[in-house]
Symmetry: C2
Subunit: 347 residues, 2 copies
DNA sequence: CCGACCCTTGGTAACGTTACCGAGCTTGCG
DNA sequence: CGCAAGCTCGGTAACGTTACCAAGGGTCGG
């Protein structure tokens, strides 16, 4: 900046005013400054600016996900980006891979870079180490899962409600023997969805049968196995509720290879791409990652404006998308008994 | 830092040495410093550090994608993140949405934050405005598409080779009337894939028929329409090559609703999730976004170490995944004529 | 014609950090 | 015992920027 000022024959303050677009600089001088800037390949250094303007926001938001490559996370990230880019903020993102130590290291890397705020899909058991940052003024919003050991804004899906809806939907189709496939029980969303499953059964006056419940299933292959197991069991389920998208895919593969995709009803939690192209289409409880990201970003921005506001938890509704697999009725066993729902709508 | 030094009763240099883990500080003094740091909620400010150490890397790299929510982009981003996180670098990402002005604004925002390097999926027609940044020392790698007006490292898929492979595969199954659905012709990858299509036809001695070629199709709905059109045309194609993943999905929907998914062969460029669960599975030319991201990041890191190296272009191979739809032979018209390939493998 | 006011302009200090250098102390060797 | 060498430690200046203040010149009303 000094070089630019020297070349343009003006003071550094004039250059500063020009690059920040402030008025109070004559057009002739401003033009001289711009010429010097181009000649010297000068580029304004925003980080130095924020150093001088301590307390001013850095216009960088940190987003910590479990895995950016997961479509749910990617959509959430995109929604955050859309909201904060309107404030000319940038997004720095990272993936924890569900590793609490990595999560902590990445969050500290963010804070050390002085991000204005954090949007976190938490994975560790305890985030009290963030209290220091909160005191220092960094704002935090948790997304998808709450962080029980720390009070902060939180956005979550209606996991219990969505699961109740899924299971009630199956009950309404006449099912009473409804299998459950769930992720690791230490994962908040998995536990909540299991809770919703039990609640729906109870409302329907159905006694849960442990033989139909498989938890701690973490990937597609295990889900496929577990589904084959369930189908082979003595009192086989007439319907299956899979409480996570990879499990939904694994279960459907198993149903397909057993030729049972039109006999056993199936509802999954979280939408899967192309589910509408299958025959029958997979009925799902769809989450809204876009709404979650948008809300999380808006809550963060609001809190940056008003740091004193009380922490709030917002629940994003889920909705059932009927595509065929969840509308298969109980007590029929003919493969020609096609569901009434249209096959290809909606995707 | 001054406050910490004062509370610990040491000089600021001692605090600096402690927070950077350098030796030359007695254990007793270091402990006093750490205590003071905790008492004051002090957090080391890396941006100020990089301000003083001009020329040192900031350990932030910028990634500009067309849309983070696109699974291809998300996987690429994740691969970049994996590589650069080993150097304790962070990733700041943004989406251009194919808008050249937005692309430029975002790239300038990155540079103004003094990122060490950029990985760009370019969308604008001209990136010469980046020359200033290159001179200033910011390194650039282009991914997925080249940027013709600027010399820089580039990673692309083998679009022509992949398309040739797809079309040859159909030719080998006996097809001579092969339809083509392609994205906007101004998009580099779309043009390349069209080129590959023509090249394969030529190798096979087949005269291209403009009536079977539909270009500038940019979304699923248009692809669905175009496919219906093709199927209804007088000399209908016996096979279709769709040169983009959304077009693949649209075309398959059309084939399904026409009941032609076992009659008309179909190969798509770029894999689509769950393609293996359909019946028949969709045969595709799979790209490798992970490899592209990894390569791009490695090239960027290499260039940061050795800025003088000559720009290089690397082509990532594609591979054909046969799932059934591409193995339907020409000249048969019975719906019972199922392909020999197994349905559900590989996904 | 003079004083008050406004507009433009630049000098200086400070943001949080570290390189550089010099000061004080201890140790070891002749 | 004296001196060189090796440490631990801190003061100061600088990185690129902007807030603050003061100064110079012009305009306008009285």
């Amino acid at each position: 900046m000094r070089d630019v000022a020297a070349l343009a024959g003006v003071g550094v303050m004039t250059v500063s005013r020009v690059v920040n677009g402030r008025d109070g600089v004559s057009a002739e001088r401003a033009a001289r400054v711009w010429r010097a800037i181009e000649q010297l390949d000068y580029r304004h250094n925003i980080t130095a600016r924020h150093l001088r303007l301590t307390g001013q926001p850095t216009a960088i938001i940190g987003v910590l996900l479990e895995d950016v490559a997961n479509p749910f996370a990617a959509e959430l990230l995109r929604a955050v980006e859309n909201v904060v880019s309107e404030q000319d903020s940038l997004v720095v993102c990272a993936s924890s891979d569900g590793d609490a130590a990595r999560e902590r290291a990445l969050l500290e890397a963010f804070c050390t870079r002085r991000v204005d705020g954090l949007i976190i899909v938490p994975c560790g058991p305890d985030h009290r180490y963030l209290l220091t940052e909160l005191r220092r003024g960094t704002q935090v919003v948790f997304a998808d899962r709450p962080a029980p050991t720390i009070a902060a804004d939180t956005v979550i899906s209606d996991n219990v409600g969505g699961s109740r809806l899924a299971v009630s939907h199956l009950v309404n189709a006449g099912h009473t023997r409804i299998g459950f496939l769930g992720d690791l029980r230490q994962i908040y969303t998995a536990a909540e969805r299991h809770r919703g499953y039990l609640a729906a059964l109870q409302s329907a006056g159905i006694e849960p049968d442990e033989r139909l419940i498989r938890r701690d299933i973490h990937n597609e292959q295990s889900a496929e196995h577990a589904t084959h197991d369930l189908l082979a069991a003595a009192p086989a389920p007439t319907a299956i509720f899979t409480a996570q998208n990879l499990l939904t895919i694994g279960a459907r593969k198993a149903l397909g290879s057993a030729g049972a995709e039109r006999l056993v009803a199936h509802v999954g939690f979280d939408d899967v791409p192309l589910a509408g192209l299958l025959d029958p289409g997979i009925t799902v409880i769809a989450q809204d990652p876009q709404a979650m990201g948008e809300l999380a970003a808006q809550m963060l921005l609001r809190r940056l404006r008003d740091p004193a506001a009380a922490p709030e938890t917002v629940e994003v509704p889920t909705r059932l998308i009927a595509r065929g697999s969840g509308e298969i009725r109980a007590g029929r066993s003919s493969a020609t008994d096609r569901p009434a729902a249209p096959i290809a709508t909606p995707l």
